[in-house]
Amino acid sequence: MDIKELYQDIILDHGKNPRNKNKCKDFNKDAKGHNPLCGDKVHVYIKLDKEKKVEDISFEGEGCAISMASASIMTEIVKGKEFNVAKKILEHFLNMLKEGSKLSINSLTDDENTRMMSLSGVKQFPMRVKCATLAWHTFMHAVEGNRNTVKTEK
């Protein structure tokens, strides 16, 4: 196990320069997520159209490199996609983190698949899985209109 598998360049880049880190205009859905263990916090804002397509998405928050990179990549990936498609992607993503399965999602470009796969090292670090999934769960919460804060248990 090499620490560089966890902290791949893509992650370090997104961690330091997160994309879509702001409160996007005209959002109509939002939710907060909190990981008490690390203190990671995210707030996800979504502009969802009537067909449940993600027209715009952004996030605010602070936390470890993994959680910030994951949030940043998540916003890039789901922007412009139907909610159902995003949901499928999340399934694949969770599977990758749990089972270590390779990721190759049809609806994603090669580059997008690579970005998602940059988080695969997390599998070797079970305590950090929650950091990697927090933004995704918060996204789901926001779309499904659950107003409770997403909480990952210790």
Binding site: H34, P36, L37, F125, P126, M127, R128, K151, E153, K154
Partner: protein
């Protein structure tokens, strides 16, 4: 069943007591521990120890996983619906105190009624007494009959629209009576009254199935289940853990702490304050495996056989009076001997390596009811055999001899 091979898994039986082999018949008090449990604890401290849940280093991750694996094991063993329903406590006593506090202080008010029975262990009375004092609630005692059991009609009779909880033992630690919990729960749930079961004696000796039993709370002491001291379990139905407030406050059970307010996570985290009994919980996983390896059905059959043999043997002695004669009895024989105080019995038996308990067994109400201050109690575990009963019988005869010489 091959009792010899089971007994050989318990290191304590290699020791002599007063030069005699140990005949351990004090299982209702606490059971002995198999080697696998003792070694699991040692291994945990020697190779895996760390505080759990809080750190991200490797030791902490492993320890946390071992701890939470045990929760899963327990959930499966007692057939609970979800992990949130399994709360680790210090002992069964704390489990009942938790309910009396978190449920009681929020749902029981002045004049409300708490229904318990005359069979209850102090652990299932004193916490309610505290509540009675604080809240002005009323405690009603369902009567115990001369067979040493509480008839379900006695409970029914006392239910009123002020009854806010029924708290009742699964298996009496004095008379051995097994209570018809499912029937009581069915009756209570029609009136929307939650039922707490003191499962201290039930858990080691009966098949546990929370979803079938249907009770709201079930309290377990792991040290009576061939497990380590220092750990108990509260099973609490999801619907309760979702709404009841925390019990003790401290690290681990919080979510967000501000100077003017504090929020809490979900169960079980909400109810597990401070550093937990890590080694104990991990060690307990081996107790469950030990029980499952033999199989609870086999354990029940074996203990029933020994119990019946024991009752027969002991009753042959005319000076002995066995306490209670419940229809459905498990693992317990309490008795008195004419003219000999139970403490003297215990001392004389001890000389022959026979360990029993003498006293009121934390059931003063029941002893008063039966008109005695104390009794002697032999209580069974999986390792007991007919030989143990024979040793008990002849030690009892020795009591007669000492006192009548």
């Amino acid at each position: 069943m091959e009792i010899k091979s089971i007994k050989s898994q318990f290191p304590i039986f290699k020791n002599k007591i007063n030069g005699k082999p140990l005949i351990y018949l004090d299982n209702a008090n606490s059971s002995q521990k198999p080697k696998s449990v003792i070694e699991r604890i040692s291994k945990f401290y020697s190779k895996e120890f760390s505080n759990i849940g809080r750190s991200v280093h490797s030791l902490a991750v492993t320890a946390t996983n071992r701890f939470e694996d045990t929760r899963d094991l327990v959930k499966k063993y007692i057939n609970a619906k979800s992990r949130e329903e399994i709360i680790f406590t210090k002992n069964a006593t704390e489990a009942i105190n938790l309910v009396a506090s978190s449920y009681g202080e929020n749902f029981i008010k002045k004049g409300d009624e708490i229904l318990i029975t005359e069979l209850e262990h102090h652990a299932n009375y004193v916490p309610w007494h505290f509540l009675r004092q604080k809240k002005g609630a009323v405690i009603k005692f369902a009567e115990c009959n001369e067979k040493g059991e509480v008839d379900i009609d006695e409970i029914k009779k006392l239910i009123s629209n002020k009854t806010k909880i029924i708290a009742i033992t699964h298996l009496s630690n004095v008379t051995g009576a097994i209570m018809p919990i499912k029937k009581i729960v069915d009756m209570a749930s029609k009136k929307k009254i939650p039922v707490l079961v003191d499962g201290c004696q039930g858990a080691p000796h009966l098949k546990l199935n929370m979803q079938e039993l249907g009770c709201d709370f079930y309290a377990i002491s792991c040290h009576k289940m061939y497990g380590p001291t220092g750990v108990g379990i509260l099973y609490a139905k999801k619907k309760w853990v979702d709404i009841l407030p925390p019990y003790q406050g401290g690290g681990g059970m919080i979510e967000e702490v501000k100077k003017d307010n504090i929020t809490y996570p979900q169960s079980p985290t909400k109810y597990e304050a401070g550093t937990l009994q890590t080694a104990e919980v991990v060690g307990f996983s081996e107790s469950i495996k030990f029980i499952e390896d033999i199989g609870i059905k086999k354990i029940m059959e074996h203990e029933k056989e020994i119990l019946e043999y024991g009752l027969d043997e002991i009753k042959k002695n005319n000076s002995v009076r066995v306490i209670g004669d419940p229809k459905n009895r498990g693992s317990i024989i309490s008795f008195t001997i004419k003219g000999i105080h139970p403490h003297d019995i215990a001392t004389i038996l001890d000389e022959d390596g026979v360990a029993i308990r003498a006293g009121h067994h934390c059931c003063q109400i029941l002893h008063e009811k039966m008109g005695i201050a104390a009794s002697a109690r032999a209580s069974l575990g999986i390792y007991n055999s007919k030989d143990d009963i024979d040793a008990l019988s002849s030690a009892i005869k020795k009591c007669n001899k000492v006192f009548n010489s």
